[in-house]
């Protein structure tokens, strides 16, 4: 079992998850569509999850994988909330552009 895991070095997992994380970050910065921004954040969370599982497996320590559950819980909650906020805003201004609302400034 351990050998299976070790076939691919941990570094590669780390690099991969960091790349995905960065793509997610890029998405957050790039997009004005609220829903896509949320998705990018989900993507970043997934990258973190992947990292956690990789560490966990390589360490042979289950705590990392348990942590992933908590991340999922939070991700689910945030998505639900985020979409609710989006709905609310969409009802008010018929737009889901994140930059549309900019009354609060200076």
């Amino acid at each position: 079992m351990t050998e299976t895991i070790r076939m691919v070095p941990l570094e590669h997992y780390i690099i991969l998850s960091l790349i995905i994380f960065s793509i997610g970050a890029m998405g957050v910065l790039l997009r004005r569509n609220m829903i896509v921004v949320f998705m990018s954040i989900e993507l970043m969370l997934n990258a973190v999850n992947l990292l956690a599982v990789a560490f966990s497996s390589f360490r042979g320590d289950a705590a990392g994988q348990v942590f992933v559950f908590f991340v999922m819980v939070v991700a689910a909650a945030e998505v639900a909330l985020g979409l609710a906020i989006m709905m609310m805003i969409f009802r008010n201004i018929r737009s889901i552009d994140i930059n549309q609302l900019n009354q609060l400034k200076w």
């Binding site: 970050a25 957050v28 910065l29 004005r32 994140i98 930059n99 609302l101 900019n102 009354q103 609060l104 400034k105 200076w106």
Partner: protein, 627 residues
């Protein structure tokens, strides 16, 4: 008696308080009586002190500590030695006479009571000045008389011009006072004491470096020049004639202005150690004397003439002091007090009689109208001219002799100054009492001789001017130089230049002869030819310059006053308001300005914030990783 010394200054102070507080309730008669009584009592007390002074050399009384620090202290202590005793006599004596005179002169003034209050206050300060046993009290009196001078010059305060004159007097005095004050500091630093005994009593003087002593004395000269109206601080005195005439007589002729002389005499042991300062005194006095006398030639205001004459005479006294003729200087101080007070008061009588007229061009031929005044004025003028046996002769003669002892040139210059004096005094005398009457009829009809309260003091002063010379009759007249011996405990025995009796006689003859010539010259011009000075605008050349007093006031204004004002405005408006305050406000404005600019970063769109966050995190990561 020695225990009551303090009463002498305190009486006038009490008089001042009572008169001042009760000014609006006391009747004039009571006020004037009270005012005169305090001074006169002082005079009596002073006389009573005489025996003590004669027998012990000096009497002292201290009534408590004034200032005490760890290293030095100063008492409210009074020292009556021959010098201060003589001064006290003059102050209370002449003062009492002038008080009496004022009762008549100021009778109709609504602020009569205040006048007496101020006069009393003045006498208090003047007594403090001469009686104090330390320099701090001297300085207190010094400043105090300046204050009274201010109050009295500006007595009629609804006239702005008078107020200006008063202020000028006070400020000019203060400039001198600053010099005096610095001198005191140096004195204090050098000797660690301010009381005469502490300074002169031990042998401290001999250990002090000469440079320091010279500095002290020079600073004292600055002070004395302010108070005694010497170059360059003399310009206030002529202006001070704005005050009522008794004030001019008492303060600006007889007493206060001689405080400078008193200061030098009091510090004579210091001056003796500083030959340079003495020299300064000599030339300063001489210059002032001539300078003021020349101005006097062209003045047409009866009081102004007298004022310049005062400046000139004071110059002569300093001249004498510088020459080492201390007794002569003091002697002249006393006689001058008599005859100048007399002159002023009789001038006041003239003014009073003519209802306030002061311009000698508008007088003339008054000897019939004001007979008593005429006589006493004549006595005064003769006294100042130095005609024997009037008092002025003796004192002035001793000064000139001392000058001759120094150098004939100084003698000549001194003589020149006194001849100028003789000329303008007689010019005035003849213009007022001889010639054609130039007074308008209306005034002339109301012209009257002064009441007894004014003429009586005139009479007494006339007598003193006549007989004052007896105080110090020189040996060649068979006198005993009484004053000189009397003062010896204070000023020490002075080595006078030895002049043979024959030489003395010769010089005397020359002086008197020349004086008579000048008198005659004036007589010819103004009594016989009945010349009248023209309008100021008509003067040309030297006359114009003299009439304008060498433009000194104008020069002072242009050189000191105006630049100071401009500087003040520059400092106040530009440096303070714009620059310094601008700097402070600028810091505030800059800060809020920065706030205004950087708040724009808070741009309002969440996308931008995300960017900032991302780059912020990046930055921190990079910093953490690579640094």
């Amino acid at each position: 008696m020695e225990n009551l010394i303090w009463l002498i200054p305190v009486l006038p102070l009490v008089g001042f308080l009572v008169l001042g507080l009760g000014a609006r309730t006391l009747p004039k008669s009571i006020a004037s009586v009270l005012g005169c009584t305090t001074i006169f009592t002082g005079f009596i007390l002073t006389l009573l002190l005489g025996s003590g002074v004669m027998s012990h050399g000096s009497v002292e009384q201290s009534i408590g500590t004034w200032v005490a620090t760890a290293s030095w202290s100063v008492n409210f202590g009074f020292l009556v030695d021959p010098l201060s005793w003589m001064m006290m006599l003059v102050i209370t004596g002449v003062g009492a006479l002038i008080h009496v005179y004022s009762a008549g002169y100021m009778h109709d003034d609504e602020r009569h009571n205040y006048f007496f209050a101020y006069l009393n206050l003045f006498v208090f300060f003047m007594l403090l000045l001469v009686m104090g046993n330390n320099y701090l009290l001297l300085f207190s009196g010094w400043e105090g008389v300046g204050l009274c001078s201010y109050l009295l010059i500006g007595f009629w305060f609804n006239v702005d011009e008078y107020n200006e004159a008063a202020k000028k007097a006070f400020v000019m005095n203060r400039i001198g006072d600053l010099g005096f004050l610095l001198g005191l500091f140096l004195l204090l630093n050098t000797f660690g004491a301010l009381d005469y005994k502490g300074i002169f009593g031990g042998d401290l003087l001999s250990h002090a470096p000469q440079g320091v002593i010279t500095a002290i004395t020079l600073l004292f000269i600055v002070g004395a020049a302010g108070k005694s109206a010497q170059i360059p601080l003399y310009t206030w005195l002529p202006d001070a004639m704005a005050g009522p005439t008794p004030v001019s007589a008492l303060i600006h002729a007889a007493t206060m202005v001689t405080a400078g002389i008193y200061l030098v005499l009091r510090s004579i042991h210091l001056f003796e150690l500083a030959p340079f300062s003495l020299e300064v005194l000599t030339y300063l006095g001489l210059a002032t004397s001539i300078f003021a006398a020349t101005i006097g030639l062209k003045q047409n205001d009866i009081k102004k003439v007298l004022a310049y004459s005062t400046v000139s005479q004071l110059g002569l006294m300093f001249f004498a002091l510088g020459l080492g003729a201390y007794t002569a200087a003091f002697f002249h101080l006393v006689t001058h007090a008599f005859f100048k007070a007399l002159l002023f008061l009789s001038a006041g009588s003239v003014i009073h009689g003519l209802g306030g007229e002061q311009d000698i061009r508008k007088m003339g031929n008054l000897r019939k109208v004001l007979p008593v005044t005429f006589i006493v004025f004549a006595i005064g003028t003769l006294a100042i001219a130095g005609i024997p046996p009037f008092s002025g002769f003796f004192s002035k003669d001793q000064i000139l002799l001392a000058a001759y002892g120094h150098s004939p040139l100084l003698f000549a210059l001194g003589l020149f100054a006194s001849l100028l004096t003789v000329y303008y005094m007689f010019r005035m005398f003849f213009l007022v009492f001889y010639g054609n009457s130039r007074t308008d009829h209306h005034t002339l009809d109301h012209a009257h001789e002064s009441p007894l309260s004014m003429t009586a003091p005139l009479g007494i002063l006339a007598a003193l001017s006549l007989g004052g010379g007896l105080l110090n009759v020189p040996a060649i007249f068979g006198g005993g130089d009484w004053l000189q011996h009397f003062l010896e405990p204070v000023i020490g025995k002075v080595e006078e230049a030895h002049i043979s009796a024959s030489m003395e006689w010769t010089l005397m003859a020359i002086v008197v002869g020349l004086v008579l010539v000048v008198i005659f010259w004036a007589y010819r011009n103004y009594a016989v030819q009945k010349q009248v000075p023209g309008a100021e605008a008509d003067e040309v050349g030297m006359g114009r310059i003299l009439n304008h007093k060498y433009y000194v006031d104008e020069i002072y204004t242009a050189v000191f006053v105006k630049p100071a004002q401009q500087l003040s405005e520059f400092v106040g408006d530009v440096l303070d308001a714009d620059f310094l305050d601008g700097l402070v406000n600028g810091v505030g404005r800059f800060t809020t300005g920065v706030g205004k600019v950087i708040r724009k970063i808070q741009e309002g769109t969440v996308g931008f914030y995300l960017f900032i966050f991302a780059f912020g995190i990046l930055l921190l990561l990079v910093l953490e990783l690579f640094f």
